[in-house]
Amino acid sequence: MSAKVAVLVFPGTNSETETVRICRDVGLDAESVHWSNAGHLPNYAAYVLPGGFAYEDRIRAGAISAHDPMMDYVIEAAEEGKLVLGICNGAQILLEAGLVPGTAAVRKPTAAFTRNAPSGKFICKHVHIKLAMDPARCPITAALPNNALIPAWAAHGEGRLAAAPERLDEIAAEYLAFVYAHGDGTVDDAAIPNGSALGCAGLTNKKGNVLAIMPHPERDAWNFNHPDLTARDREGTNILAPSGGAALFRAFAKALQ
């Protein structure tokens, strides 16, 4: 039997449906768990925090949600070593909850995803993210190849990693999971859509059981999401099959086997 995965729904979450769908399509027993059912959360093997604007992004994206009672369970689960994946708003919440990079006490964030630069505006743009660590560093990425390149959509107003310079050094050395890259895998400033420090698109924690990624691989996760690719490039002719960004969820599923 596949592992039970909770996709958390905070007030203001908006990406739970497709997140549950891709998890199921790669074989996970996933379901959304609503804030009024927070008490059920201990029953799950792993947690996904999906995208959205939980609590309206008041103060800073993720800042209020980090104090939602649901996060008490997630923090406890993370400390037990259960897998936690945050995407976009979910990633922002994990940073604000101090779970990644996790270099200080819980709910004492040491880094944050802040307002995009230079525009300061929401941006919706197709991107690629490139694995910037040893895949085995993090169970969720362990099944990915070295330098794995994953297509995704950046769709956020606050995706620029910011931290004190010494914290950034720490992150660069130990916690940087994904960086923005071009489609051919090259990495440069032009590939960064939001001014993120270190070109950071994703972070992990010390144990590697918590992964926070800013762009959405689940929005480029089926063949029909990238119709311009030929049948050969898009993993067969079944237009409904998972592909592209699904690679990350397949690796997640593998880690839960």
């Binding site: 729904v9 007030p11 203001g12 979450t13 908006n14 990406s15 449906t17 497709e18 769908r21 891709i22 609503h34 804030w35 009024s36 995208g51 959205g52 604007f53 609590y55 309206e56 525009s119 505006k121 929401f122 941006i123 919706c124 743009k125 959509w153 769709a155 107003g157 959405h216 689940e218 929005r219 480029d220 996760a221 089926w222 029909f224 999401n225 119709p227 311009d228 002719t237 237009i239 409904l240």
Partner: protein, 698 residues
Amino acid sequence: MALRPDELRRIAEGLGREPTTVELHAFDAQWSEHCSYKSSRHLLKQLPAKGPNVVLGPGEDAGILHLGEHNGERYGVVIAHESHNHPSQVVPFEGAATGVGGIVRDVLCMGAEVIALADCLRFGRVEDPNSHQRYVAQQVVDGIAAYGNAIGVPNIAGDVYFDEGFNDNCLVNVIALGLVKEDEIIHSRAPKNSAGWDIVLVGKATDASGFGGASFSSLTLEEENQEANKSAVQVPDPFLKNVIMRATYRVFEHLREKKITAGFKDLGAGGIMGCTAELCASGGYGAIIDLDDVNVAVENLPPEVIAVGETQERLCWILPGDVTLDVLRIYNEEFSLPEIARGARAVVIGAVQSDKRYVMRHGSEIVMDVPIDFLTGAISNEREVKTCHPEPRARARESKGARAAPTARDEGLREVMSRLDTCSREPLYKEYDAVVRGTTVIPRGHADAGVIAPVPGALFGIALSVAGNVAEAVRKVVAVGARPLGLTDCLNFGNPNNEEHYAQLAHAVSELAAEAKHFGLPFVSGNVSLYNESSSGTAIPSSPIIGCVGVIGDLRKVVTMGFKQPESGLYFIGPSGIGALLQAIGDELVLSASAVGPDGLLAAAAKMAFAANNDFGVKFTDAQPADEELAGWLIEAGDSSAFELLAGKKLRREGWRRVGVTTVADIEGRVDISADGSSWDLDDLHAAWSKPLAEIYA
């Protein structure tokens, strides 16, 4: 107040007494153009509304077209179209955001899941960085983005044009699509045998915002009243709406489990009064409403404000008593509305009555008691249609976007590409979330129409396009390989009491009707926005805005606009080639396609090259279409001989021709478009095309 003296007299005669304050405000809202379509209703009858694809035609909050079947279920696509022009001119961010909020409710209240948005914008000249119209153009986009992004509905189509005629009146039209199983549609009326059922108000606490909104949008904007007008604009709350939408999906589920037929409608113009009166009247009932039971944001609101104020984010259910408690629990406890926004909740405010009176109580007083059909019934202002000049036929088609523009033959292609009406829209739409829900197949910028795969596991897709006329909207949908299903319209015009403006409206409607009939397509929903003129009497350019929905039977065959390979034959197909083009796409003979508009063939080719990152250029061998051929498609054929064979069979000789071939970079890495001995570097064209709006939406 917008009621005219003769209307006031009719009210007093109809009631047999002078109306109360609440009644006066109720009639003012209900008889406004916004609610009653009094100047346009008889005109709109000309628009074709029937057809084999029509599941639900005009008359409720949204229309529904048959989309396809999957696993034995019939699916319909819900479409609604609305303007929020006046509010967006006065407070552009909030005005545009509430426009999105309103259209989403129109779709939601049909029992549908909201699956896509589109926006059609017309702004004044924005070159001057200090101009109000530039501020409007920026804030409107920010407002649409803020709302649509937060509720999690992808924005997949749209257009924007600039003209000094919109300096004092911008146009903000929004379209929303929904998905519904055809046997689960919920209607905007009190169901059969619903006498005594509860009237349940859901959403934001009623406040004084949006008081007088319906009649405000039925007046012209007077500069000196700007401050007063601001209070007629509602305050959007997309965060609350996000939760209300999800709670409502849960209520749909519950009602299906209980096999309950309920009535459901959103609160728009005329607030609680407008919504509950229309719900009950269209079911053949009356209603009694207790204004004291309405959840209010501030104490001591006058009854007329509670009754007709247009506070956003509210919906209304008609429910049998034994289900009411379940629904209240879903909204108030499971989705904890009162904790999401101060005072928000679901609450019983009245009951359906078998006598056909509309009654409102406030404190110990009856503040309104009128025959419901008199309140909601049509009042019509039929006017004699004056001949419109010049050339009404051209004029109706002429809304921005289809205006005869100089082509590359008259000015350099680079100049054409950098015109405000031609240049890249990406700086604007990149603020909109195009991919939330994970169903987006083609976002904006990759084809003429947006495409989504709405039903998990189903092979069919929905295409959505917008344009200033029917033919262009249809061509855009066909360009992705979709079969057009139906249309929606928003008629944006000046003051109908001005004979010339009224004549323009009348002629535009008959043109639209003729065009729709030509394509065999129904209009299933629409909206009318009149009085788009400033105090100086300057009206906007006549602007019908059309949305077209199409279906793609097999998503594997969807076609984008980016060139796919070098050495492909390029063909121009004339406007009568819909059937041939759809067959060629079905036979997988078309690698890329785009509608050719008034900018001409070269500009269409440049955009197709941009969509493929300038990997391929074009060598035109025949780029000189006759002017009447400017409408059609430019397509890239994978197998030229197979395509020519099909085209030869399906099309008249003058209906298509080979115009060129795709190319790759030359030895110096230069990719260009060449025609008639001239050539343009694509990188240079792309830079010129990208720049104008990037400066405005930096």
